[in-house]
């Protein structure tokens, strides 16, 4: 494969493209789904091909193929060149890329236990046991559990001389119990919604998740929700647990800090951003205790890698520092527009898609509070746990998020359980009301394998480090 890729690069150079790169990606995805004591599906998908990206006459062209013969690769390279020339028909400013060192390197995920070497029977047994425990509660109508494993092999080769080889391993899983009574339906998931929790790690990640140990509690909570009162509409103090904070960071900081959105190039589908360039370095995004970083180097994060999909080395970048907007997620094309170098956020959903600016691990840095102290310090409030619904406007300002469960906090104690809890806000007002963040003891990197963006839709695997946080004067419930 190396020689095939190098010969395409040689061909692109002979065609005098301003820039060219080729990515080979081979992905194996194993997915196991158990529902109601029955193995609903076990599948293994194999997918490989190349994507070729070029700049000609200042315009971009991209072509991708799953056929890997020498002739097809050259044909695809020529098609990319042809497409770039048509892009150039409307170009106003020729594409200029930030400089990057052309690395020749190898990177592999560090893991202990190859998830593909673990017998299928063992994985299936684990999920069957989980659904058995969930179904022990009479009111649980549906119990679903899943495991997913990815093995991704990547080569990146550019006309600038880069040649990078990466081997990524990802593991994840989770489950959901749905309780039904009459027309009422309530669910609880573990360890989080969106198919659970994921990491760049081996099967050791699954073994330490506590899937079995938490199943009875999860089923009990789903059943209890059926009889719980609806969360009242009010304005109050709220505490948000780590997994819901991951969603909060994702929607209200991760997406709006993508520089392509800021520059308007994702406006037609995913929308724009309120974090406009004039705000860089001066906009008070949050309270002074809010520090958010993009960090693709952190061990185990689902957004951790060696190099992004245009050969930029993984790194750590401040996005929000002491409450102030100080950075964006960038690419080689967009970084020069803020007089910066790329911080390595260009990622493609496989070989067939064009790289876009995507989140990596967007982490809220831990604060100083112990979780029990935070609850004890809250006289009157509501605790929100585990994401259920998410909606935000196309500039990422007005959001409404719902969780699976909430609890009233009264005089420093968790008391009444609530169902159908929702909170809403305007992003900067919300983050400026943050007055407490829990410390490293309660901090976890939540892996999300389903971040959507782009046309055709691309799914990115991203993560968010977070711990429970407290916010003041937040609107809860729905205005009638």
């Amino acid at each position: 494969m190396r020689d095939k890729l190098k010969s395409v690069i040689h061909h692109l150079k002979s065609k005098k493209v301003a820039y060219g790169d080729i990515r080979y990606v081979s992905t194996t995805h194993q997915s196991i789904n158990v529902k109601d004591r029955v193995v609903e599906s076990v599948s293994q998908d194999e997918d490989s091909g190349v994507g070729i990206r070029v700049i000609v006459d200042g315009g971009w062209g991209f072509a991708a193929t799953s056929e890997l013969s020498d002739g097809e690769l050259i044909k695809t390279a020529n098609l990319a060149i042809k497409i770039a020339k048509t892009s150039a028909m409307t170009v106003k400013n020729k594409v200029r890329l930030a400089r990057v060192k052309p690395y020749i390197d190898k990177y592999s995920t560090k893991y202990k236990e190859d998830p593909f070497a673990v017998p299928l029977d063992e994985k299936i047994d684990l999920l069957l046991k989980v659904t058995e425990i969930l179904h022990a509660k009479r009111m649980i109508k549906t119990a679903e559990a899943s495991l997913d494993f990815y093995r991704i092999k990547k080569f990146f080769c550019s006309t600038e001389g880069a040649f990078i080889e990466q081997d990524i391993i990802e593991s994840g899983g989770g489950y959901m119990a749905t309780a039904v009574s009459g027309t009422e339906s309530q669910r609880r998931t573990y360890p989080s919604s969106h198919r659970g929790d994921f990491a760049c790690a081996g099967y050791e990640f699954i073994r330490q998740m506590g899937l079995i140990e938490n199943a009875e509690r999860v089923a009990d909570e789903a059943v209890a929700l059926l009889k719980a009162p609806v969360c009242p509409a009010t304005e109050t103090t709220i505490i948000i647990t780590g997994s819901q904070m991951a969603l909060q960071i994702h929607e209200s900081c991760g997406h709006p800090s993508e520089l392509d959105r800021v520059l308007g190039t994702e406006i037609s589908l995913a929308g724009g951003s309120f974090m406009t360039l004039d705000k860089l370095g001066r906009f008070k995004y949050g309270s002074p205790i809010v520090n958010i970083v993009a960090d693709s180097t952190i061990k185990g994060g689902l957004g951790t890698f060696g190099y992004d999909d245009e050969g930029v080395k993984a790194c750590r970048t401040n996005i929000i520092k002491e409450g102030v907007l100080v950075g964006y997620l960038t690419s080689r094309e967009t970084a020069p527009l803020i007089n910066a170098v790329s911080n390595g956020c260009m990622r493609a959903d496989g070989w067939s898609k064009i790289p876009l600016i995507r989140m990596t691990n967007i982490n809220l840095e831990p604060g100083e509070w112990e979780y029990d102290d935070l609850i004890a310090d809250t006289k009157d409030g509501i605790l929100f746990d585990t994401n259920k619904t998410w909606s935000i406007d196309d500039r990422r300002l007005n959001f409404q998020f719902g969780t699976e469960v909430a609890w009233q906090i009264k005089n420093g104690k968790k008391v009444q359980m609530y169902k159908n809890p929702i909170y809403t806000g305007i992003t900067p007002q919300f983050w400026n009301s943050c007055d407490a963040i829990c410390n490293m003891n309660h901090w976890h990197i939540w892996g999300i394998p389903s971040c959507g963006k782009g046309e055709p839709m691309q799914t990115a695997h991203v993560a968010h480090g977070a711990s429970p946080c407290r916010f003041r004067n937040i609107s809860v419930g729905v205005r009638k």
Partner: protein, 449 residues
């Protein structure tokens, strides 16, 4: 395009060697050409050529699924054998009653050569023309224009062998000024049917009329939902209510409601993959012909769509709505029609005393309370105030939070004009939606633009 003969011959030959009791191969392949533009220039421009073959093998009701994107015979056979090996580790699935038998299908023309050969240059020329027109009005353009050709085939060990070539053309346009945006889109199997000039005019008009929007307080307003807005709500209903999975799990608003009134008598919603006035696709991914299924007929609850597995669970027959093997969401409705009304869109607007017109929604979420079809979402790209039957000006965007079944029980009128709107299953389906007037629609919040 690989072609019917080569695809069916290859898959038949591979299946013939299968060690499994039942074997099925689903082929999905094709070429997508997509040109995206923003800030009035093309910033992404691509061609993707891919194939995927998904094998489902079953022995003693134990099911294994694998896929490969190689069409090499050796790779295909290896994929099939892996599927057989996976099945050995499976538990028997009591709802597997066998693969479908071969049967007659309605011939449906879904492939049009001019769309298949439409070039990147042709797409760029259309976009260049739109952007140049926009410049005259001080408008900036963004959007995407795609043309694609695909092939779908289903072959199984019962002798079923189906092949369907498809083409799809889709464009969306967002026209923008500093304070406004306007939207238009069109979808067709035939690129020559895309009305570029009128789409451009619509997007420009909404954008120019939408300049300097004013603040409006949330609350209940009569609302005109244009087809794209209606379709995005229906997309969510399809996911949370119209499939057998949520229906049998009793999380759908249709569960236990067969024959009962769930919406206003004006509302009829059905799925029909064989109706060429939509984006027809005649069979599902098991090769079962698509049947018309009424979810709501004159306000009365009907039934969901089924594949063979869910049909066995419910002791009924497949309606031809199986998704590709490995899809965990169960059978899905993908060719949805909302029956049109008798009034014109303009007469609906003229009947509104104090209301709001919504061009489209953004980021709807339908998981708030699925048994009540409670949803939330934001308006975007053209939200206007209506007073005394006239559109009087633009308003800033609003959030709605509303039970859709309740909202569709307060219908003030449905337009006779309908539009095909892209949904999550773009190449094999869409939503045919009219404009709908809903009384006292609940806007629960507002944003800053």
């Amino acid at each position: 395009m690989i072609g019917e003969n080569r695809i069916l011959t290859t898959l038949r030959a591979v299946i013939k060697k299968s060690p499994a009791e039942h074997t099925e191969a689903v082929f999905i392949g094709g070429t997508l050409g997509l040109t995206r533009y923003a800030n009035s220039y093309i910033h992404q421009n691509l061609t993707e050529n891919n194939t995927k073959v998904i094998f489902r093998t079953v022995t003693n009701s134990r099911i294994g699924v694998t896929s490969t994107n190689s069409f090499n015979k050796d790779d295909l056979y290896r994929g099939l054998v892996n599927s057989f090996k996976i099945a050995q580790h499976q538990q028997p699935n009591p709802d597997f009653k066998g693969l479908p038998m071969s049967c007659k299908h309605k011939k449906t023309k879904t492939f049009f050569e001019p769309t298949a050969i439409y070039s990147p240059r042709q797409r760029a020329e259309v976009i260049r023309k739109i952007c140049r027109q926009a410049e005259k009005y001080g408008i900036t353009m963004a959007g995407a224009f795609s043309t694609s050709s695909s092939e779908i085939a289903v072959v199984n060990s019962n002798g079923l062998a189906l092949y369907q070539p498809l083409t799809t053309a889709y464009i969306n346009l967002i026209a923008m000024t500093d304070t406004s945006s306007g939207y238009a889109e069109a979808l067709s199997r035939r690129v020559v049917k895309i009305p570029f000039a009128s789409l451009t005019e619509t997007a420009f008009k909404k954008c120019l009329d939408g300049r300097n929007p004013v603040d409006i307080e949330p609350g209940r307003y009569d609302v005109i939902l244009e087809p794209v807005a209606v379709s995005s709500i229906i997309d969510w209903l399809s996911s949370i209510a119209f499939g057998a999975k949520p229906y049998l799990e009793k999380t759908s608003f249709l569960s236990n409601k067969l024959g009962k009134k769930v919406m206003g008598s004006e509302m009829t919603i059905y799925d029909d993959g064989s109706d060429s006035s939509g984006l027809a696709f005649p069979f599902d991914f098991e090769g079962v012909p698509k049947k018309r299924v009424y979810f709501v007929k004159k306000g009365i609850a009907g039934r969901p769509v089924y594949d063979t597995i869910y049909a066995a669970k419910a002791k009924t027959r497949s309606t031809g709505h199986c998704m590709p093997p490995g899809f965990s969401g169960g059978p899905m409705a993908s060719n949805i029609f909302i029956a049109p009304g008798k009034k014109s869109k303009s007469s609906l607007i003229a009947s509104v005393k104090n209301g709001i017109l919504v061009t489209r929604f953004f980021y709807i979420n339908g998981l708030l309370n699925t048994t009540k079809a409670m949803m939330t979402g934001m308006t975007r790209d053209g939200t206007f105030r209506i007073k005394n039957g006239k559109i009087i000006g633009p308003v800033k965007n609003l959030r709605f939070t509303e039970s859709v079944t309740k909202a569709f029980s307060r219908i003030g009128g449905i337009s006779k004009e309908t539009q095909l709107v892209k949904n999550w299953w773009k190449d094999i389906g869409c939503c045919s939606a009219p404009t709908i007037l809903i009384k006292r629609f609940n806007f629960s919040g507002k944003t800053e633009f």
